[in-house]
């Protein structure tokens, strides 16, 4: 188990993001929505960092900023020592190579008209890197047969599709894997397979994992550090086990109490 003695890899400080609702009057500007209010966090190399929050908590906005898919209204994000905010896309190449994302719903994140071979190779092609035998190697890593390469996403089950999405994310040998609710759309019997696979890959490849979920019990299984978000702020952050055992913030306590558990009824 890697301790988080690693050097800071992602450093976000005082991030804010304000969206504007469409204007409803000629004389007044549209209402401002503060999606993120002064969020700071540090993810160290080798760490498994969880972000927990409900819809509207700002976790998706934070994720988009960390992946440079959106620009903050104020604040800064340093990735591996380099500032990534305010850069044009052509100067984000190093980030696209080092940080890859697995989305919640593989049905909508994989192009239905592309074969698995092309889907998995696409990040490499986009970065102008040789593909070679990498696809077969990746499919093997995520536990899919080599024959999967010639098929289309719809020919796979939900769990297998998520394996394809993981293979695709790993293609450019990233340092950081960002997983946005990767098991929320999966059946319980398949969820364990994907969580085990993620844990194995993070270990084997020495990845840093940023894992976003609405479910604190899943985060507790996967991550060592967690940030709990509510209303665009991080209300509590620290070691998962400490927060699980002794939540200090009122919202974290509400969240923990609301999660139904089997143990509570048996």
């Amino acid at each position: 188990m890697p301790t988080h003695a690693g050097t800071p890899l992602i450093e976000a400080s005082d991030l804010s993001r304000v969206y504007h609702r469409p204007r409803t009057s000629l004389t007044r500007a549209g209402e401002a929505v503060h999606a993120l209010r002064g969020v700071s966090l540090t993810v160290r190399a080798g760490e498994r960092f969880g972000i927990v929050g409900e819809s509207g908590s700002g976790k998706s906005t934070l994720l988009r900023l960390l992946c440079a898919l959106d620009q903050p209204t104020s604040g800064s994000i340093r990735f591996d020592g380099q500032e990534i905010t305010g850069r044009p896309e052509r100067r984000l190449r190093f980030l696209r190579q080092s940080l890859q994302i697995v989305f919640q719903d593989p049905m909508s994140s994989l192009d239905p008209r592309m074969r698995v071979r092309d889907l998995v190779a696409e990040p490499l092609v986009a970065l102008g890197e040789p593909v070679g035998g990498r696809v077969a190697e990746l499919l093997d890593q995520v536990g899919l047969p080599a024959s999967a390469a010639d098929r289309y996403p719809h020919q796979f089950s939900g769990g297998q599709r998520q394996r394809i999405a993981i293979a695709r994310a790993l293609a450019p040998r990233p340092k950081v894997l960002v997983a946005d609710e990767p098991v929320s759309a999966l059946d319980v019997s398949v969820r364990g397979q994907i969580l085990n696979l993620l844990a194995d890959l993070v270990d084997e490849l020495g990845l840093t994992l940023v894992f976003v979920s609405h479910d604190l019990s899943v985060v507790r299984h996967v991550c060592e550090t967690v940030a709990v978000m509510n209303g665009g702020e991080i209300v509590e952050t620290g070691a998962v086990d400490d927060i699980w055992a002794e939540p200090r913030h009122a919202y974290t306590r509400t969240l923990l109490r609301a999660v139904p558990t089997l143990e509570g009824f048996l």
Partner: protein, 306 residues
Amino acid sequence: MLSVEGLTVRAGSVELVRDVSFEIGPGERVGLIGESGSGKSLTALSLMGLLPEGVTAAGAARLGERDLVGVPERRLKALRGQDVSMVFQEPMTALNPLMRVGAQVTEVMTLHGRPAGQARARAVELLGRVRLPQPEQVARAYPHQLSGGQRQRVMLAIALANEPGLLICDEPTTALDVTVQKQMLDLIAEVAPALLFITHDLAVVASVCERVLVMYGGRVVESGPIREVFGNPRHRYTEGLLAASRLTPRGTRLPVIAGSVPAAGQFPDGCVFTNRCPHATPACEQEPALTGEGHAHACRHPADRG
């Protein structure tokens, strides 16, 4: 209250639900759990007479004195929303976006013969009963002006409008946040007459229901009181599902069920779980019957008690 005998649902030659039988007593809350493709939603839809085109149900389902399966649409229309009603998973698609919420609650009552004025007053009362704050104002709102949790409460108000004998909820909280889910579950448990609660989430079913039916591959593979089934599972599928639901501490392997749920019509013959079961033997090629009083299971090599 509700008694289902040998319910079978087919799409052409493919059997999607096979020989499902169960009963729900007055005031009883029964859970139906299963993963996607297990046939749980089809079971519910066949009770409501809402099966999609080309899908047919056979067998018998009786609500009190009245038949639910194999009766003409005209008769079903009179029952639906009156004697049996349903709350769906996604309130945004189940509600009419062009109609005010109050009018949608009123509609289900006027359709079943209640005078309009009376129905309108009762709609506001119902919105209050599902604990929507300021029900008079909510009644004038359109669905998009409400949050997901509020919309689901409106669905519940519609379902309860005619005091049905049976409420069917199909994954009513899956689209909701956990804190909202808890309030909704508490509310459903409080207001439901007899309840058939469909979900894939074992912990959710444990918090709402007294009895549970476990479905896999279109069949009920285990049934009984929640405490018994979850505390002492007999069928190997139930056992695997329970193990997979418990998230162990970090750094440990999660127990898993091998493979994935087959597509409809591709389940093995005999016991539907054989191709994923670590205990399967050639004997499992013969379909096991659901046996046992109270706590029943359909497995040739059941897990040990204790």
